[in-house]
Symmetry: C2
Subunit: 285 residues, 2 copies
């Protein structure tokens, strides 16, 4: 049995716990909150379910204990730097990390890689939602006059998105002024954005999300090859599940002595799965 | 540059040639027909584009020359046996084969593996077509009274398919008798099958194909996770392209000393792609 610890117990940590409990080859090796001591952790792999900006510090602390890590670090522009930074610590401690292992970045990245292999020329559009954008929600909450906010991402096709921002206002805030500040914010100024004042943001909250990835491309010299990947999902449930599947792959790569940090496009898909190799190949290939 | 030879020059061999010519990191190392001598072949990897039943014999002959191989062997029940058989020869000759590297088996297999990692409980339905079924077309041609035939696969959902069989009859053949023989044939007896007599099967031929893969499943303990992968494609063009992308992976695995035969679900997706690792991770993850 693979011993899996969970660090951070928000939406994703709770979803990861359910996925560990459902896995036939894993046992839960403890749930650790943000400020807990990690001294007593006895685990093969730890799922780092902290806020994304704290992933690197916590992952390094775990790797230094010889524990493999999985995270769903989601700042796309900083993924490669995280990979290089964790690779050095993993090599020094004979461990493996799988990073940015959610659905985007994560399983969507694998689909993008596969589509590129199938049709090397062409354009892939990733259309998100409808669903809550964490980054845009945090940005909207920071606007002066906003008490609470929810920013929904609405896909308009070809990678263009509308932002529907539901806000509760502070007492005495001027609607027009708040709206101007929101529309001019860096997070919103480039997209079609609508601000809607509501009595309760909490009443709207919902962790549903989705994606529609489309590629029209060229295989060899043949055009008009058309591909689409669609999903509608519970966001933290999918993120937690992908992290747990990647925990299995991290331990396998460690056993093979292939120490370092990997993104999901660098991992053989079969390593994500429970069950013996022969049965998996017979049933999936 | 990776030197790629092509063995077999039918629809798939021709499509593979176009894909090699379009690849920035490959050069064509010769096209070999079925009965050509392979003595002079100087290649890093050979694409075995022969009929599927001849793949094993030709692949072994090439591996024994130290040349990696890629095939699109498509008899699902025999894939694992082929993998074991070629693995032994690869290990003895420091080579790598990637087998069953088309779209199904092949890229569809990777999608099935990924969906299982994302939602371990649930049912995946693979719906094929509309498009020509090679196996059913050959079976229809073998029916007494049939001069030429084309069997189209029509998806009805949940993995159920209708067979639309277009036939030219031999002179003097009785339509009702031919139809009875067809409907009772092992290939057709389990599916809804329609036989349609036409003047020219050749006038109907078309290499378009498609797939619709659907999974509704459970991530952790969360139900109603819904996924779909769809494509409409030129069949030999996609098969040839996937083989060429896998040729790149075969050479990479050989360079790493990981000799043996692999199905696509055992290969890191990034190995299929041209370009440097850092750029690929930055653009895809």
């Amino acid at each position: 049995m693979i011993r899996v610890a969970i660090l951070g117990y928000g939406n994703i940590g709770r979803a990861a716990e359910a996925a560990v409990n459902a896995a036939p080859d894993m046992e839960l090796a403890g749930i650790y909150h943000h400020n807990d001591s990690l001294d007593d952790m006895q685990a093969d792999v730890a799922l780092v379910c902290t806020p994304t900006r704290e992933v690197e510090v916590f992952a390094k602390r775990l790797i230094e204990k010889g524990i493999c890590t999985v995270d769903s670090f989601d700042i796309h522009t900083q993924i490669y730097a995280l990979r290089q930074s964790l690779t050095a610590v993993n090599k020094a401690n004979n461990a493996v990390s799988i990073i940015s292992a959610g659905w985007d970045p994560g399983s969507d990245s694998v689909v993008r890689a596969l589509l590129l292999a199938m049709a090397p020329k062409g354009i892939t559009y990733t259309n998100f939602g409808p669903g809550r954008s964490m980054g845009h929600t945090v940005a909207a909450k920071a606007i002066a006059g906003v008490k609470d906010a929810l920013s929904m991402t609405i896909p308009l096709g070809t990678g263009v998105h509308r932002r529907m921002v539901y806000v509760e206002l502070e007492d005495g805030a001027n609607v027009k002024e708040v709206e101007q500040r929101l529309l001019n914010d860096d997070y919103f100024v480039h997209d079609e954005t609508h601000m809607i004042v509501v009595d309760s943001v909490d009443a709207l909250n919902n962790v549903a999300h989705g994606v529609n990835m489309v590629r029209d491309g060229v295989s060899g010299d043949t055009h008009n090859q058309r591909f689409a990947f669609n999903m509608t999902i519970n966001n933290p449930a999918l993120t937690g599940q992908v992290m747990v599947s990647c925990a299995r792959a991290a331990v396998r790569l460690q056993r093979e002595g292939r120490y370092g940090a990997y993104t999901m496009i660098e991992v053989p898909p079969i390593y994500l799965l429970a069950g013996d190799e022969e049965s998996l190949i017979r049933s999936l290939v």
